[in-house]
């Protein structure tokens, strides 16, 4: 399976791109070229050079180091948000499918529609408006938005599986809905979930960037790609590298993840579609 994946150029490229940043994030825990919590104002606006590989920002901090630590934030936010979405969405979806047409199903699906009616950014704005801006609230906001995505996906996929004979024979073997969902449904929708997971992951990174950009995301001193953009935007006209590098980082990571997602999608099943069932 994994071998097959790496036979696909899209996956390989995507994997390399995404992994580069994940790695950078991990390394940043132990080492960065320069500390990111020390400001060195006299040394500000250095262009990329041998010392500061990507130059320094308006407070003289090393942009390369900032990017490494920023990757940490962006990835953490996205991962946890996807986790929330899967952790809550999938069980809900499976439950709805197992009890199709029941009140439970109805409630879950209507609930989904309701959440879907709130654009992700709007949820974020509400939450941050209530609890104040922070990376955690950004995670929650993006996570909430992810729940219905996974609920719908898993319900749709599960429904088609419930009509299959092997589920029927499992029922003949006296297995209950929970056990069947765990043993027979979940393993068979895993592919879908992985694909959707990568996609939501990349969306999460974009969302985090957007939130931090309007100041509703990660707060200083925690570096975040989105905030690096926000901080540097007024200087973009005379120090473009400040805005260019974080932007590029976002684009490349998201691009990488999407490439992986699409490759996996084709690998698992060419007929999977994104979006609502």
């Amino acid at each position: 399976m994994i071998k097959a994946a790496f036979k696909m150029p899209g996956f390989t490229i995507g994997f390399i791109l995404a992994m580069t940043f994940v790695l950078a994030a991990l390394v940043s825990f132990f080492w960065t070229p320069f500390p990111t919590d020390i400001v060195d104002v006299p040394n500000k606006f250095q262009l990329p050079n041998r010392v500061n590989w990507l130059g320094t920002d308006h407070l003289g901090r090393d942009i390369f180091s900032m990017l490494m630590v920023g990757a940490r934030t962006s990835i953490a936010v996205a991962v946890v948000a996807v986790g929330i979405g899967m952790g809550l969405g999938v069980p809900l979806g499976l439950a709805a499918a197992a009890r199709k047409g029941s009140l439970l199903d109805e409630v879950i699906m209507r609930g989904n529609d309701l959440v879907f009616a709130f654009p992700a950014l709007l949820i974020a704005i509400l939450i941050t408006a209530v609890f104040g801006p922070s990376a955690v609230n950004a995670i929650i906001a993006i996570g909430i938005f992810n729940i219905p995505v996974f609920a719908r996906l898993s319900r749709g996929a599960a429904l088609s599986l419930w009509t299959r004979d092997f589920v029927l024979s499992a029922r003949v073997a006296g297995k209950g809905a929970v056990r069947i969902s765990a043993e027979h449904i979940l393993p068979n929708i895993l592919n879908l979930l992985i694909v959707q997971g990568t996609i939501q992951f990349s969306l999460g990174i974009l969302a985090e960037a957007a939130l931090s950009y309007i100041g509703l995301g990660a707060q200083p001193p925690i570096p975040s790609w989105g905030r690096m953009l926000a901080d540097s935007q007024t200087m973009a006209s005379f120090a473009p590298h400040l805005a260019l590098f974080p932007g590029a980082a976002i684009v490349l990571t998201v691009l990488g993840l999407n490439l992986m997602g699409d490759a996996l999608r084709d690998l698992f099943d060419p007929k999977i579609r994104r979006g609502r069932e």
């Binding site: 004979d165 024979s169 003949v172 073997a173 006296g174 297995k175 043993e183 027979h184 393993p187 068979n188």
Partner: protein, 528 residues
Amino acid sequence: MTLLQIKNLNLSIGDTEILRDVSLTAEAGKIVAVIGESGSGKSMTAYCINQLLPRGAQVSGQVMFNGQDMLQISERELCGIRGQDIGMVFQEPMTALNPVQTIGAQVAETVLIHGAASKAEALKIARETLNRVGLPEAEFPLGRYPHELSGGQRQRVVIALAIALRPKLLIADEPTTALDVTTQAQILELLQKLVREDGMALLLISHDLGVVANVADNIAIMRRGEIVESGPVKQVFAEMNHEYTRALFAASNHVPERNAEAAEMPILKVSGLVRDYVLPRKTAFGVPPKLRAVNDVSFEVKRGESLGLVGESGCGKSTLTRAILGLDVVQSGLIEIDGQAVTAGHKVPRELRRKMQVVFQDPYGSFNPRHKVAKLVAEPFHLLDDAPKGTARRQAVEKTLIEVGMLTQDADKYIHEFSGGQRQRIAIARALIIKPELIILDEAVSALDVSIRAQILDLLAELSDRLGLSYLFISHDLSVVRAITDRVMVMKSGKIVETGETEAVFNTPKHHYTKALIDAAPVLENVR
């Protein structure tokens, strides 16, 4: 005169060889049938004629149609011929029509594409053609959508759009396989009529000897991409030069050895069973209407007996099965398993369930692709309170696998590594493993090629003799039911219309529906 002449046709897709040196002719006003089991390349032969081959297909040889070689002419010319001179009918009427277009539009389209008439006339032609195929204006206005029609009716529409321009050649690829016997008979009749009236050639592709035996003039028998024997039907059936022909023929009406005698004590007794479905509301707040899928059904299965249940799709046989298996709760009636009663409104308790197991039709859909055979076969152990664990469990699995003619090491393989026949054996193993007394076979052999089907039937017979199993054998295929059952029930729209000794029912059917079924069923004997 010969309308179509295929000479030494070779086809390979990618690097797998599909057809080898196939030669075939079709004449106007005649029906030529191509017979073969799945993977024999019979359909591909058809697609070579109008060049609707999948990507990466290389063809060589000659397909002379109406004086020109279809392999040589351009795509544009081909488009001119398709629909105009060559019509085609497919196996799956459910998906062969565009769901978002009216049947009228789709039939008229054939005419319009070839600029044969103005829009108005095209619709007129569409109307006439639909009338011809037995869809009169009254019930079937042009504005109908496919989803509003039954399978048989849709197949008629497909035929209509194939013959709208009265093509010289009509290719029918398994046109009746997806249909009930009675409908099948009607469709075959229709095709014959059209051939007579338009004097067109019909290339009829099928896996069922019985179907073609009565309609075809000439026949070609294919195996693994080759034509092993061909010629006029009577002659081929009379001579049977090739051993495959004989094997095929034998398998088609194979009757397994059975010498199990039924005890008096019934293992399953069903009385006054009723199962209703709640349909969606008609009005926003009105009381939702009910559909009575099983209507006051009573019967019993004796120990060691094999009871058949025949009926066409939608007659309620699967609903009955589900009720007996305890998957659904019934509205009224009584189910007695081994003497213990389960009253309506209650689920069948585990200790009774373990006396019954089931084998489903689809050898592909009935296994979880992510589990190994060992796990799949062992699943019913869930019904036992003292299910064997560890090596004991493993041994049980291996033992049963051997019983159904598989190998012990198969336990460690995934299901996709097996053929349809093998899967059905594994399915039977899964049913056997907890030593049930009754096995419900729901169309268990319907999806198999005749030769494989014969083997499975033998296996079933042998098992019932050795283990004293009882079968409830559900099928739409009368010949199979006749071959394997002691008694048979005929079900129609939720009711049992006739019950009796299998032979008696088949020889002297009492209920008119039973008669209809038996008449419709294609039988090989009368060819001889």
